[in-house]
């Protein structure tokens, strides 16, 4: 899984702080993500894990600290720099956020044709391949509302992959799904991980995190409370907070 790891990190987060008004939600985060690494972020709701993820592609602005992707710093003030950064960082959302007025195929094609100026037939060909990869080749012309939640989320993955990102952010991507649909989405993510995609995912699926992640981060009250390989973190939690969090999952 770590075959493609290079020396320099793909994402480097240094002393990152973020607050909403007087409420500080991220209190100094340091994290280096290596290329090809799969990182699972766990923790209670309100611990800042989604906010951290959303800082990586600039959906949230942080007040202090630094964040670089592929060596380039994140600059809010430059629309150009933000677009460049976002081409490197794909994101998949809890609520899928497919464009409801476009067919599945056009959902996948839209950004490459606009942003990467790809020709329509080329983009269509790529979209077909990507939909095949997530097991939805026959749905190219379907509208999003004709698909199940699991299928919609797989389309969202194909849409993010169409921009050929170096990092993929997954924000609780199975939390809005019926239990029987979770598996099909996780299988796609697992394949991506095996193929060497760098993944940063906020998840409540502990067994999945254990199986796929190279490192697990436990966030607590806006800080990285514990970090380590899943085997260590899950079987031998060092802090009482993580112990309590893990035991609360079994209730």
């Amino acid at each position: 899984m770590l075959a493609e790891v290079h020396a320099d990190p793909i994402v480097r987060i240094t002393a990152l702080r973020k607050s909403y008004g007087t409420n500080e939600v991220l209190k100094g985060i340091d994290l280096d993500v290596k290329r090809g690494e799969v990182i699972a972020i766990i923790g209670k709701s309100g611990s800042g894990k989604s906010t951290l993820l959303r800082c990586v592609n600039g959906l949230e602005q942080f007040q202090d600290g630094a964040l670089t992707v592929n060596g380039k710093p994140l600059l809010y003030d430059s629309a150009m720099a933000m677009r460049e950064l976002r081409q490197q960082v794909g994101m998949i959302f809890q609520g899928f956020n497919l464009f409801p007025h476009l067919s599945v195929g056009r959902n996948v094609m839209l950004a490459p044709t606009l942003v990467k100026k790809r020709a329509a037939n080329e983009a269509a060909e790529q979209a077909t391949k990507l939909l095949q990869r997530v097991g939805l080749a026959e749905k190219f012309n379907a509208m999003p509302d004709q698909l199940s939640g699991g299928q919609q989320q797989r389309v969202a993955i194909a849409r993010a992959l169409a921009m050929e990102p170096a990092v993929l952010l997954c924000d609780e991507i199975t939390s809005a799904l019926d239990p029987e649909l979770v598996g099909e989405v996780l299988r796609v993510v697992e394949t991506l991980a095996e193929e060497g995609m760098t993944l940063l995912m906020v998840t409540h699926e502990m067994s999945f995190a254990r199986k796929v992640a190279d490192r697990v981060i436990f966030m607590h009250q806006g800080r990285v409370h514990e970090i380590g390989p899943p085997a260590e973190l899950f079987s031998a939690p060092r802090t009482p907070e993580l112990k309590q969090f893990l035991s609360s999952l079994h209730d």
């Binding site: 677009r83 956020n97 464009f99 942003v115």
Partner: protein, 215 residues
């Protein structure tokens, strides 16, 4: 004294109706363009612009259209700009319409879930691309019914242009009523003509709304 037949009355009113329709069309198209521009500015620029446009909307929604017409006609003259009743009416109605349309449309844009913006942004689309390819197609669908509905308000609003001497349906009606001494008949016809113009549009707006909810 000249005797007015019913046909005389109706024929003259119909001729004046053209100007009601023309003024409505100008106000609606002009108001749509200005409203669209203001909406884009509001969405694309910062808080200062948002506040300025908010004040613009409040100004036009918070004062009677009649005052706006007076101000456009007499106010511009005071500034040394000699404007015809036509220009003043077209200007005042365009601004009035734009203030309402920008509010209606802003509501429709707000009704598009925030996740749509976020997804488009995450795919590295520029602001213009997000707006044009993701947000507006969804907002337009929501906007059609209330926009068509508002057209009825604009048509009825043109009646006020009669007070600055613009000869449209209402002004023609009062002139004919004065000359024919048949005010009830004349204004009855005027009302019927407005109704004939507005009713189909209201029906159409209702139909569009029904179609939207059926989806």
């Amino acid at each position: 004294m000249i005797e007015f037949t019913l046909w005389d009355i109706v024929r003259n009113l119909l001729l004046a109706l053209r100007w009601t329709v023309a003024l409505s069309a100008i106000a609606f198209i002009g108001g749509g363009l200005v409203g669209g521009l203001l909406l884009t500015l509001r969405l694309g620029l910062g808080n200062g612009t948002r506040r300025a446009i908010g004040w613009y909307v409040q100004l036009f929604q918070g004062t009677p259209l009649l005052m706006q017409l007076f101000l456009a006609y007499f106010g511009l003259a005071l500034l040394g700009l000699e404007v015809s009743a036509w220009t003043a009416a077209a200007l005042a109605l365009t601004l009035y319409t734009s203030a309402y349309l920008v509010e209606i449309w802003r509501g429709c844009v707000d009704a598009v879930p925030k996740g749509q913006w976020e997804a488009a942004r995450s795919l590295a689309m520029s602001f213009g691309e997000q707006l044009r390819h993701v947000i507006l197609p969804q907002a337009v669908k929501l906007a059609i019914a209330p926009t068509v509905g508002f057209l009825v308000q604009v048509i009825k609003g043109t009646a006020l242009a009669s007070v600055i001497g613009f000869i449209e349906l209402t002004k023609a009606g009062s002139m004919i009523a004065n000359a024919s001494f048949k005010p009830f008949l004349v204004f009855g016809c005027v009302a019927l003509l407005y109704f004939a113009l507005c009713f189909p549009i209201s029906l159409y707006a209702q139909h569009l709304e029904g179609k939207l909810h059926a989806r």
